[in-house]
């Protein structure tokens, strides 16, 4: 006993000394005495304390979503969404493979761009996070009680799914097309693109109770590149705004050819009008094939359903539903302020930020103050809809969010800075550098009627010298600013995963009490689950073998199996019998051509093993679960394909 305590004490002392060492080192390197000290205090979350906010960061080309605590910048979790994740077995085990199914077959990787937290009455409700994938157009829902991906819906008749947002009551999410395509797809020459390609904009209906998604309708927009979208809110609820670039409809060397027009557009879509049109029998069904994948937390399994046909709407068939607002120079950001009055367009090649007025837009529509048409849809007079311009704000404006106190914050990619300006008079109030080439920024709730204007996170595309070098590839950096005062103050710099295109933040208090600790074993409806060790068994069906296995600290049942033959397909269905918080067990089998299983308490996961060689092969627990974790192991005997070894299984000599 005494020895144990001594060792424990040494361990603690060791940790302490280590952390002391780190502290002195970092304070030595800290740049500015008092300033640095106060910044450190502001982001210091004492050991054992919780952060004030959850920050959800998109992983871009990692295909995943990462969860950070703010203001500490501590990484809490990576949630696999569109990419396989060997760590958790997501997309590898038999239960989650179906999540990555598409009309193109199994796609193991995705490019996750934007995300949006569900809202009720324009305020964050913290029930789900919705996100989307650029390469194979898909949208996804993550459940914030389990922090797991529970639904993925493919968007057919689209490409480069980019403009993405949810409406303020989570009625719809919109998924726009960035790479226009023939609609429906067909074999044709590329240089006949202009006028023939389309940029379908898909509206996905969200079930208010379950969060379940289904495609409601697709508006077949002209073949521009639809970039970013944000919903109207409060006064402008019922409208969706999205930026377009390449209104030139160039199909080659876009960096030059799509940058010719002095102005591109922000498109305003009255989705309520189109919804009504469709509800009254409007629209036309178009052949399409798309996958709908749903994860069931009772069955602990995903199912993938192939759906057919989508409702399409020709926009000119719904007069008064769509208007184009001229906006300078290939706009990217399209952001609506908390009141719903201002629509901020960030022309990424412009040297100004353009702010449109929703009320002026309505007036211009009423007065038919049009300057022309785009494929039969009115283009509004720029001067009639303009609310104001932020003059000389910086170079390359990208994205704007709001603090709820009348201020807007815009990132500038080219001049690497974030600029604070006032909505009432478009005056610039402050600017701070970012490191480097900032893309999006995030203020918790900054994309809702009720922002929490305390912190701002800038997400950068280029890292260079910010951290210790790690070879040619550096993780992207993010900077946290305190925006509670008049001037912004840089507090923290931290690396992120993949390429964070976007983030969403929410006060932890809205989410954390709903976070599940375990899955209830008595609610486990997995087809191959066992509820206790007496139900464990092995069944053979031809060359398929199903092992109904359980794990609990610190053994598998059964842990000795004989009678398996070369050429068998052995399915290990492993149930974690624990009902204790944070006690997962892992499962790995030598020679399995797949990832491990990581099974949460009360859950069941399945690993497929196809033994190729005879012998006696070990399996073991991969997650350090207990003092006797190392002992958590077992053996499977594999006999020749033609052998007569009887199928048997046991734990401690008892079967």
């Amino acid at each position: 006993m005494k020895h144990i305590f001594k060792f424990a004490a040494l361990g603690v002392l060791g940790l302490f000394m280590q952390s002391c060492g780190n502290n002195t080192e970092s304070s030595k390197q800290g740049s500015g005495g008092l300033m640095a000290a106060s910044a450190a205090e502001k982001v210091y979350v004492a050991p054992g304390e919780h952060d004030e906010y959850y920050g959800f960061f998109s992983g871009g080309f990692s295909g995943q979503l990462s969860v950070y605590g703010l203001p500490s910048g501590r990484m809490l979790k990576v949630i696999p969404v569109f990419s396989q994740d060997a760590e958790k077995g997501y997309g590898y085990n038999e239960e989650t493979k179906a999540m990555l199914n598409t009309s193109y077959g199994f796609v193991p990787w995705g490019d996750l761009h934007h995300l949006d937290i569900s809202q009720t009455n324009g305020e964050l409700d913290g029930r789900w996070i919705f996100t989307h994938e650029n390469n194979t157009p898909r949208v996804a829902r993550i459940d914030l009680t389990t922090f797991e991906t529970v639904e993925i819906l493919e968007i057919p008749n689209s490409a480069g799914n980019h403009s993405f947002a949810i409406t303020e009551n989570t009625e719809y999410l919109v998924a726009g097309t960035r790479f226009s395509i023939p609609s429906p797809q067909k074999d044709m020459t590329i240089d006949e693109m202009k006028g023939n390609f389309k940029g379908p904009m898909t509206f996905v209906k969200v079930d208010q109770e379950t969060g379940g998604m289904e495609i409601a309708f697709q508006v077949i927009m002209p073949g521009f590149s639809f970039d970013l979208a944000h919903p109207g809110r409060a006064a402008s609820h019922g409208w969706m705004f999205a930026t377009t670039y390449n209104s030139e409809e160039a199909n080659t060397l876009l960096e030059v050819n799509a940058s010719q027009n002095d102005k591109d557009y922000i498109v305003a879509v009255n989705w309520k009008k189109i919804e009504e049109y469709v509800n009254n029998g409007g629209g036309e069904m178009m052949p399409a094939e798309y996958a709908h994948n749903v994860f069931d937390h009772h069955k602990h399994s995903a199912t993938s359903t192939m759906k057919e046909g989508i409702m399409t709407v020709n926009p000119t068939d719904v007069p008064g539903a769509i208007y184009f607002l001229p906006t300078p120079k290939s706009p990217h950001g399209c952001d609506v302020d908390p009141t719903g009055e201002y629509i901020v367009g960030s022309g990424k090649l412009a040297a100004q930020v353009t702010v449109h007025s929703f009320s002026k837009m309505l007036k211009a529509i009423e007065e038919e103050n049009f300057i022309g048409e785009v494929y039969g849809m009115p283009v509004l007079n720029y001067d009639a809809v303009l609310a104001g311009i932020v003059e000389e704000p910086g170079l390359g404006p990208l994205h704007t969010e709001f603090d709820g106190k009348g201020n807007a914050y815009t990132t500038f990619f080219i001049s690497s800075e974030v600029v604070k300006w006032r909505l009432s008079d478009f005056e610039i109030l402050d600017r701070k550098p970012t490191y480097y080439s900032v893309g999006h920024l995030m203020i918790p709730g900054g994309n809702s009627q009720k922002p929490f204007g305390e912190y701002l996170v800038a997400m950068n595309k280029i890292t260079k010298d910010r951290y210790l070098p790690t070879g040619p590839e550096m993780n992207h950096s993010a900077q946290l600013y305190d925006i509670s005062g008049e001037k912004m103050e840089l507090l923290l710099d931290f690396p992120t995963i993949g390429e964070p295109h976007y983030a969403a933040g929410i006060p932890a208090d809205i989410v954390k009490q709903n976070s599940k600790k375990i899955f209830r074993l008595d609610e486990n409806e997995h087809k191959y689950a066992v509820k206790n060790e007496s139900e464990t068994r092995v069944e053979r069906d031809g060359n398929e073998v199903h092992v109904y296995m359980s794990m609990v600290r610190s053994h598998f049942a059964p842990d000795n199996i004989e009678g398996i033959k070369v050429g068998d397909k052995v399915y290990f269905h492993v149930t974690n019998l624990e009902q204790d918080f944070d006690v997962p067990h892992g499962f790995a089998m030598i020679g399995a051509n797949t990832a491990e299983l990581l099974v949460m308490p009360g859950g069941t996961k399945t690993l497929l093993w196809e033994p190729k060689k005879e012998g006696v092969w070990p399996l073991y627990c991969t997650d350090f679960c207990s003092a006797l974790h190392q002992e958590m192991q077992g053996y499977v005997r594999v006999s020749p394909a033609n052998s007569n070894v009887e199928l048997k299984w046991s734990l401690d000599g008892e079967s």
Partner: protein
């Protein structure tokens, strides 16, 4: 005698709280259990403070060879205790009512109090015996076998009343609502005796 009869009756009735509230509570906290595992001990059985606490206490204790927390049918106490408490409450109420009408004197109240105290002490003694058995009658095949400085097997008995360190666990054993109602009830019956005797003397 009216006032003391009422006190006696009310005091006895408070015993019935034991059918609703736990008598005792033992909490086991450890670094890896920041939310302690807890068991509520009722006169009719032991329940987890949280739904799966008993299962998790059993799981943790398995390593040092402790037996599982008994189910109600596995201990005679959980059958007898409710009968004793119910019987004593009924007896107390009867004595109180008879006292109220002046049929029985306050010495009966004292007699009830003494009987209840003896039964209570016996109960505590029995409870302590169970704790001792639970903490010392260990599975010889336990994977962790620890000894004290003299080489005797370590004693994992939780305290009867108080806080104790058992390996990495801090065990807290304290009375709960049911016990407090019992104490209050018994105290009231003692008051009933004294007020009754004062009335009798004057």
């Amino acid at each position: 005698m009216k006032k003391s009869g009422i006190l006696m009756t009310v005091g006895s009735l408070l015993l019935l709280g034991l059918f609703i509230f736990p008598l005792w509570n033992i909490q086991l906290g450890a670094p890896q259990y920041p939310d302690p595992l807890g068991m509520n001990i009722y006169i009719f059985g032991i329940e987890g403070e949280e739904e799966f606490d008993i299962q998790n206490i059993d799981g943790v204790n398995k390593y040092i060879g402790m037996k599982k927390i008994p189910k109600p049918e596995e201990m005679w106490e959980f059958e007898v205790f409710p009968l004793v408490i119910g019987g004593m409450a009924a007896l107390g109420v009867l004595v109180g009512i008879l006292g109220f009408f002046g049929i029985l004197g306050p010495n009966w109240f004292l007699a009830w109090f003494i009987l209840m105290s003896i039964l209570g002490l016996l109960g505590m003694y029995d409870f302590n015996n169970w704790l001792l058995d639970y903490g010392t009658d260990l599975d010889p095949n336990a994977v962790i076998k620890l000894t004290d400085e003299e080489g005797n097997p370590l004693n994992y008995k939780p305290p009867l009343w108080g806080t104790d360190q058992i390996l990495n666990f801090e065990a807290k054993s304290y009375p709960r609502t049911g016990a407090y109602l019992l104490f209050l009830g018994m105290f009231l019956t003692l008051i009933a005796f004294f007020t009754g005797r004062r009335v009798e003397k004057s």
